[in-house]
Amino acid sequence: MDRIDTIIVWGHGIQYLNDILKYTDEKFEILKVKRHKIKNVKKFIKDVYSFDYAPFWHLKDKTKYLLKVPKEAVFIFIKNLNPDEDYFGEGKFRHKESKTLKSFKEFLRDKFNPYENNKRTHNHIIHATDNPTQTHCLLKLLGFKEGIKIFEEDKFIKLPYYLKGYKNFEIKKIDMNNLYANIVKGENWEIFELELTSLDKTPHYLGIQNIEVYQNYIDKFLGGPLTDYYNSKRYQKLINNFQYLQGNFINNYIIVKKIDNKFIILDGLHRASILYSQGHKEIIVCQVL
């Protein structure tokens, strides 16, 4: 049975973030990427590790090095499709853990932890959760009040968590020239604003012709305003294999909201861009009411 886990990349590991995401994407399904500026390092470390099996006094020395690394962390929330759980540790510290994630954690540490005298140090660049309850608590710590429930999707129409409150929908055919999206503009993932942009001017649509435009957009804002994990490789794969509302995806409508006679895409910008590039003039969408 699958479960949801978290990988935390500490400040000194963020330089390897793209590689870490690439490896993680190969092994797990990445659900969300969230960057976090740490104000009070001691408190934050204590908060994160307070969900651990081991008491904090035991972890205090082990986490001392984190006081000296950049005050930033990236949370990667993943669906662990094959957790292969087993018991680890002795006595008080005995606990259940995913063998798959544990070995992946060690793989990343082997690859990216600092080395001294050709020996891997214990200044780990990543931490991983032992169970979904820890993920639930971490999400709450980051301000997602519903915790792990944010990953529960409505299934009658595939709706992301941020649209779960809607109860009235209309399935309709609309002119693609009337589609817009809120695109992030700004300096970096911390300083940005949203700008309503017509579909043909979005980096998603322009990226189909020139993938660099799209990748630059993702690189700039991933983990900040963009928390859904995407990269050019994944997008290219979608472009090549995409069939709208077919097979297992019959309820994956592009979700829109009508504001001032414009249809704003709330979910499905990648899909809409592909359909537009394929020459579709009209598409069936699900409008939230």
Partner: protein
């Protein structure tokens, strides 16, 4: 009315799902404008998505609206461009709430599991068994007869189809219990006023929702009709 809805595709796609149509109009698939079809099903999310999928082709000339009343009750409306209901799919994954009867939850499962196949032209639909149909009609009659005398039609149906046999009464008594009758209490002055305001508040909510989903013009027409 000959249907523009492709019932054959819809029910063929639902073939492997646990569902049952209750109180099916004998003239189905011919129906009058504004009719509905009530469906009990186990996996309501899947049934909703399969029905919607088969209605996509109607988006050229009709509006397809989905309403999630709650986790276990959805309806899918096919609306004409002027907002009139053309047809409605009413879907439940638990028994609807009845106020005048206590019904065992297991009756819902009995209805779905004991469905029978009915041939329509060259495809099959799953309809409720005759015995369960009789119980459902009796429930409907008992729930509404005080305010809707026309619900006597359900009793007529049971009698005409000779469903009022021992087995019917055995099942009826197994699955349902009547609510206890409470002594009438004289309402207090405040309770009366509360109910008065509550009634108007509900009406405002209904009008607000109607405007939100159908627009002001359709709402005004509806109000005019009611007046």
């Amino acid at each position: 009315m000959s249907s523009i809805i492709n019932f054959k595709n819809i029910f063929s796609n639902l073939e492997n799902e646990f569902y049952v149509i209750i109180k099916l109009n004998p003239s189905f698939p011919i129906f009058t404008k504004g009719s509905d079809i009530d469906i009990f099903c186990f996996d309501i999310d899947k049934v909703v998505s399969l029905i919607l999928f088969n209605l996509n082709e109607l988006t050229y000339s009709y509006k397809i609206q989905l309403t999630k009343k709650n986790e276990t009750h959805f309806y899918i409306d096919i609306l004409e461009k002027n907002g009139d209901i053309y047809f409605r799919f009413d879907l439940y994954s638990t028994l609807p709430k009845y106020y005048n009867l206590n019904i065992k939850e297991s009756f819902f499962y009995a209805c779905v599991y004991e469905s029978q196949k009915k041939k329509i032209d060259d495809y099959f639909i799953k309809v409720v068994s005759d015995e369960n149909e009789a119980i459902l009609r009796y429930i409907e009659y008992h729930e509404w007869y005080s305010s809707r005398p026309d619900k006597i039609k359900h009793i007529d149906y049971i009698l005409e189809n000779r469903l009022n046999n021992k087995s019917f009464f055995d099942r009826l008594h197994y699955f349902i219990a009547f609510n206890e009758t409470l002594e009438c209490e004289k309402k207090s002055f405040f309770k009366n006023w509360f109910e008065f305001f509550e009634g108007y508040l509900n009406k405002i909510k209904i009008v607000y929702n109607y405007i939100k989903t159908r627009g002001l013009k359709a709402t005004l027409i509806k109000i005019k009709e009611k007046l």
